[in-house]
């Protein structure tokens, strides 16, 4: 078996080691473009989980790697002149150079042929060719892998420093051009990695696009002089970059397989690149062992095993990249909430899991929200809206009422307030006169009433053509309904393509001032209703020609200024053939943006099924109030022996 591995980074070298261990008869060559002592980047991070995998795969290198590790368990967050710490996070890091030395040495010991300064210009002749040649993989370019590359996150630049941090440190520094942030961690007894990041507009405003390598280093050194304690930054071809998110539809083509950054990248802000790469090597070597060098099934095993991990990591990395891109909108948060938001940014750490790692931190957060040293978790903290006090963040119950007969969605709907806590006043607009929702949604009644909308187009297939609304009558109907409402919170429905929602969208309203009529209704209701007033809003139309999130945020801001106390964040349904993105908690990120960019309290649902989600959302300041979709408990099963008995449903 002749194996050529292109790329002598951690993934390529580690695979070479494992393949020689698997088969001493195999001819394994590693072709590396650079010289053995050339290094790019400073330190790389590992998790405990990865270390376990490395120990099992090759105890010899594991021992050497862990011998030179910098280890720490703390995250420090330096924000607005304060420093907050969270413990229990178990990181380790190693100098990339040292890691390569250890792996090169082990390769030699095992009889791997290492060729440095080897520029590969065509696909090498071998039984198995491995592309371990990084994000700009040459090998990948020679095959058909369905590669997609798109930039994500902010501008960033990678430095080293001889200030040895004693924790993973996130530092934030406000400038006249905008907010910069740094990611720093130690990787041996004398050095730390120091990455500086800022959104592209900030980068341009600061003139960094005009500075050369030395000038931009000096800029960063001065900006973070406090964090660096007067120490220097070191450059290693340190240029400002855009992070490329790379995905491939397949990781093999014929006898060629790719791994590590060549196959997939994950934004540096979650520090998983090297970890993923070396885990790929372990998985591929194990698959080749299991399949006795039968390449195709081994590649399939390798991909099937790795894909779910890689996909999860890439998703989390993208969340993290996006978070750092909009970091400026969080600068109004209290430091403790800012820190919790940062720690939970990628969706991998929640209130519950942080509580296990660092109970002190969650206790401090809970205490800050609850107003007592020992407080229940965030979802149970009190909240006040225009003089109305909520005992917890999930007690709102939705009720809805059509403001008029022709504003009903379906005939069986009662017209009259129900006295629920959150009473939504709806006019169905062109989504009216439909069959009951138990049957389906937007199914027109055969003998429906005249529907109205600011557009002449029906909502969905076989829908009726809307007539023009009598705006005076609509305002009167909302005001009358508000006058007789019996509720803790009154809500005006401007979401989901109902009457007022269809005014707001360019997809369904040709008017220039699309807020004109919805604002008029809001102001009229505001004059009538003294309690908390909510506006339910589709923050995005999920359509390229409709309102985008930025538009939705601007609308939310206008609603707040016109007297709304709360924005109930929804998305889509403005038209029936939009392009929604469904998953558990699909509205949380939108609520986060509305709350922190329009600076208005929010209510959010979006299929939240656990109390932990509520605690994390409220704790991180992504919403103030939540609507939970708690499933029936399935703890208890009926005592029936047959397989067909299945799961029992026990209602709480």
């Amino acid at each position: 078996m002749k194996v050529v591995i292109v790329g002598g980074g951690p993934a390529g070298l580690y695979l070479a080691i494992l393949l020689r261990k698997l088969d001493r008869g195999a001819d394994v060559r590693v072709l590396e473009r650079n010289e053995p002592d050339a290094t790019f980047g400073f330190g790389v991070v590992f998790s405990e989980e990865t270390l376990g995998a490395l120990r099992d795969a090759d105890p010899e290198t594991h021992l050497e790697i862990t011998d030179t590790f910098a280890r720490w368990d703390r995250i420090d967050i330096r924000f607005q002149g304060r420093e907050l710490s969270s413990r229990g996070h178990s990181f380790s890091a190693i100098a990339r150079k040292r890691l390569l030395e250890i792996l090169q040495e082990r390769c030699r010991e095992l009889g791997v042929t290492l060729e440095f300064g080897a520029e590969v210009e065509e696909l090498p002749e071998a039984d198995l060719v491995v592309g371990a040649d990084g994000a700009n993989s040459f090998v990948r370019g020679l095959g058909d892998f369905g590669t997609k590359v798109r930039p994500e996150g902010s501008k960033y630049v990678w430095f080293g420093t001889d200030h040895v941090f004693d924790a993973f440190t996130f530092a934030f520094r406000e400038t006249e051009h905008g907010l910069f942030n740094a990611h720093a961690y130690p990787y041996d007894e004398g050095m730390s990695t120091f990455i500086v990041e800022c959104p592209e507009p900030v980068w341009r405003a600061a003139g960094l696009d005009e500075l050369d390598e030395q000038e931009s280093l000096a800029f960063c050194e001065q900006l973070f002089a406090n964090e660096l304690r007067g120490r220097e930054l070191f450059s290693n071809r340190s240029l400002w970059l855009d992070f490329p998110k790379i995905t491939n539809a397949s990781w093999h083509d014929g006898n060629v397989v790719i791994l590590g950054d060549a196959a997939h990248t994950a934004h540096f802000s979650i520090g998983s690149g090297t970890k993923l790469a070396m885990e790929d090597s372990i998985s591929l070597a194990a698959a080749l062992a299991r399949r006795r060098w039968d390449l195709e099934p081994a590649f399939v095993d390798y991909e099937l095993e790795r894909e779910p991990f890689v996909e999860r990591t890439q998703d989390a990395a993208s969340e993290s990249a996006a978070y750092f891109g909009r970091i400026a909108s969080y600068s109004h948060l209290e430091p403790i909430q800012f820190a919790f938001n940062l720690i939970t940014r990628a969706g991998r750490i929640t209130h519950a899991t942080l509580g296990v790692r660092d109970p002190q931190f969650t206790r401090a957060l809970d205490g800050w929200l609850g107003g007592r040293a020992v407080s229940p978790p965030p979802a149970f903290s009190p909240f006040e809206l225009r003089g109305v006090r909520f005992e917890n963040r999930f007690e709102l119950v939705e009720g809805k009422v059509a403001v008029s007969q022709d504003g009903r969605i379906s005939p069986e709907e009662a017209a009259g307030p129900e006295g629920k806590v959150l009473l939504r006043l709806t006019h169905a607009g062109r989504r009216g006169a439909t069959q009951p929702r138990s049957r389906g949604v937007d199914l027109a009644l055969a003998d429906g009433w005249q529907i109205v909308a600011p557009t002449k187009r029906p909502y969905g297939p076989f829908g009726a053509i809307p007539g023009a609304p009598d705006e005076e009558a609509v305002v009167d109907a909302f005001v009358t309904a508000a006058r007789s409402a019996d509720a803790a919170v009154l809500e005006i429905d401007m979401a989901h393509g109902y009457l007022l929602g269809s005014y707001l969208s360019p997809l369904t309203n040709d008017e220039d001032d699309r807020l004109r009529f919805p604002l008029r209704v809001l102001e009229a209701v505001r004059a009538e209703w003294e309690g908390p007033l909510s506006v339910r809003l589709s923050v995005t139309d999920w359509h390229p020609r409709g309102n985008q999130v930025e538009d939705g945020i601007a609308i939310a801001r206008a609603m707040r200024e016109a007297g709304a106390d709360l924005i109930h964040v929804e998305a889509g349904q403005t038209i029936h053939d939009d392009r929604p993105q469904y998953r558990r908690g699909f509205l949380t990120a939108l609520s986060d943006r509305v709350r922190n960019e329009a600076r208005v309290p929010t209510l959010v649902g979006g299929y939240l099924t656990t109390l932990d989600e509520a605690n994390t959302i409220v704790g991180a300041g992504r919403a103030d109030l939540v609507l939970l979709d708690l499933p029936d408990t399935e703890i208890e099963r009926p005592l029936r022996p047959s397989r067909a008995a299945s799961l029992g449903e026990v209602r709480a």
Binding site: H252, E296, V441, Q573, H576, R579, P580, L647
Partner: protein, 275 residues
Amino acid sequence: MNVGVGLPTTVPGATGEQLLEWARRADEGPFSSVAVLDRVVYDSYEPFAALAAAAAATARVRLATMIAIGPLRSTALLAKQAASVHGLSGGRLTLGLAVGARTEDFDAAGVEHKGRGKKLGEQLAYIRGDVDGDRVGPSRDGIEILVGGLSGPAYARMARYADGYAHNGGPPRAFANAAGRALAAWSDLGRPGKPKLWGQGYFAFGDLDRGDAYLRDYYAFTGPFAEKIAAGNLTSARAVKDYVRGYEEAGCDELVLFPTVADVEELERLQEALA
């Protein structure tokens, strides 16, 4: 969770007699449904014709398309075909619909591939909304509708018009992920209760190579994914049991296991594996 079984209508060479025997035995066995796939350019049987025959050979099981490619058919004709199978079977049709994945089927049927999503939406609104119900019989009343697909619009169509979701197969975690999205869409569209969640898988017990070769051939249009699908073929009683347990834990309501070898002994082996 219920377990149904597929009829080998897309396994090349399967005879009409074999298909009816599968249906008959499934009806006598522990299965809750028999299901069929849909494809034009292949040595396969038309799904509604196959289910009409199965209707006559069975008395108990539900008859399901998992899925039928709606937009290949004109809307009124699709409604009529579905309502006919529903009527012929005494109300046992579960109509799974999706947009399909192969352009060659659309080319062969002489139908535009572009706009297939919009057309499926119209078909669902037509069938579920009982549009033209007074003119185009037989009655569509009580047809259980599922929608398949992994895109946002597919989940929205499911939640808007259907009774449940038809997943396209794969490991339980893939099903669980899709089920979460289906439930989120259902909640977003304000539908009461929960959608029925249908899953599927492939199995072969006897001639494994033949089963794998069939899957590679059937899914050749997916390129490298064909190998992964073939790798997921359930080829032992233990694999079937693990799969069933995984789906049950992921909240599946009805799991349909499709044969990759048409021999009717395969059904007996499956029955033993499930016992």
